[in-house]
Symmetry: C2
Subunit: 267 residues, 2 copies
């Protein structure tokens, strides 16, 4: 890689880094989700450090984050000769798999079958909170959740359930679902990604660094709520243009295999 | 009228009277709505007393109620020679006309086009209260109203509006819309009306007394909420059977003309 490319890489990383404070454990979750989500996938400690260090994250911070992720049951670590290897636990893998379809959905078409869950005033709020833990539900107000897909029959006793049709969405609901910080984050990511034009000869580790950062920032936007029909979008919401740019770039930065990242230890 | 018929009339009135405490002003509202709702309709004070007295209501109570209704702008009174006549004001007539379709709807088929109004949590409650003043809306909970017919465009800014389709109605909502007192009132009216079999030769004033009582009791049931689709009815709701019986009886007790009730003064 020539020095112009090296310069490009550093500038690009710096630009993505300014978007928001990176939480190291959350970066590692994005990284495993993108590069090593399959059963049997393992990442060498040295490789992990090489991917993360360009983001300005010190090895000490990575060790602390790995410790936390082990304590939370997301990641296991093992020795392999003189090296350490890290991999998702079954729990971590299932958590990662649960959100992968939403993060990696290229198709901006929202689910078509929406319904409302409406709870009884005070006595129903615990049931509503429980339903909102399910990934398909989004809060409308303290009595109402909006969700897609089949209606869980187990909710029948708690909720007045109705299919959503011909919704008319007022400003307050657009603002609630797409608050200003989300719109601003999305616009900032879009601006940063607009300037990114990766050269062809990046190393697998550099590709991994860029992918991890792009996926990480996008994940924080994409997981705020399910893909909602366009009538729910405020006029200044640029999420779909941002999504398009994310997948353009990921296509230009194909996911490196673990063996390419770490030729010595992973088969 | 023979004494068997007179006995029947007194027993029937007594039976209808036990259903609930009669508020005299409310009886008079039912009476005008049934017998003298058209512009120009006037009821002689003597006739009014003859219709109401068999319900056990003293002339003094009728005078107090008429005074209240005049003060509230529902009714006007005038002298006509030595007699007094009473009639609905424009306001009283419009109030009466607004609820007439619901009271006199024979067809138990509920409106087909329902929608939900969902307000923002705290800031939206005033708008919800205002919408609930409209006759087509019923409260679901503190954030939600259920209504039928066209959606008023003026509500667009305040509410998340969605057409209701495939509703699944939990017990708490059935109980909220059809509380025990309403179910009990309806069953009691149904029992009372089941035993009523009017003879053919009642006087116009007796017919008016019976019609007023039947309409009055039914009105207090029919106006509790709009006719809801059957999926909203609790298993022990007998409103539709009661409605059928009400209109059977009203058909057997055709509305007397004002001239038949009061041949002397009203043309």
């Amino acid at each position: 890689m020539n020095s112009a490319h090296s310069q490009w890489f550093e500038t690009s990383i710096a630009q993505l880094n300014t978007l928001q404070n990176l939480r190291v454990w959350s970066i590692i979750v994005s990284l495993f989700g993108d590069l090593a989500q399959k059963p049997g996938d393992r990442i060498n400690g040295t490789t992990l450090t090489r991917i993360i260090t360009p983001m300005g994250i010190k090895p000490e911070a990575t060790r602390v984050a790995l410790h936390r992720l082990r304590k939370d049951g997301w990641i296991e670590s093992a020795r392999s000769g003189r090296a350490s290897v890290h991999y998702l636990t079954d729990y971590g893998r299932s958590q990662s798999a649960a959100v992968t379809p939403r993060i990696y959905a290229r198709d901006p078409i929202a689910p078509q079958d929406w319904h409302l869950l409406i709870c009884e005033d005070s006595s129903g709020s615990a049931a509503l909170e429980a339903a909102l833990m399910l990934p398909q539900y989004t809060r409308v107000n303290r009595c109402t959740a909006l969700g897609y897909g089949p209606r869980p029959a187990s909710l029948d006793a708690d909720f007045f359930v109705a299919s959503l049709s011909q919704p008319q969405v007022p400003n307050w609901l657009q603002t609630r679902l797409f608050p200003q910080d989300l719109i601003t984050s999305c616009q900032a990511l879009q601006r940063a990604l607009a300037e990114l034009s990766p050269p062809a000869d990046l190393s697998p580790v550099q590709v991994a660094t860029l992918r991890t950062l792009i996926v990480h920032h996008w994940r924080r936007i994409a997981l705020r709520h399910p893909a909602l029909p366009p009538s729910f979008h405020p006029a200044d919401w640029t999420g779909e243009a941002c999504r398009t740019r994310v997948f353009d770039l990921l296509d230009q930065l194909p996911r490196p295999s673990l063996s390419a990242l770490d030729p010595g230890t992973v088969g």
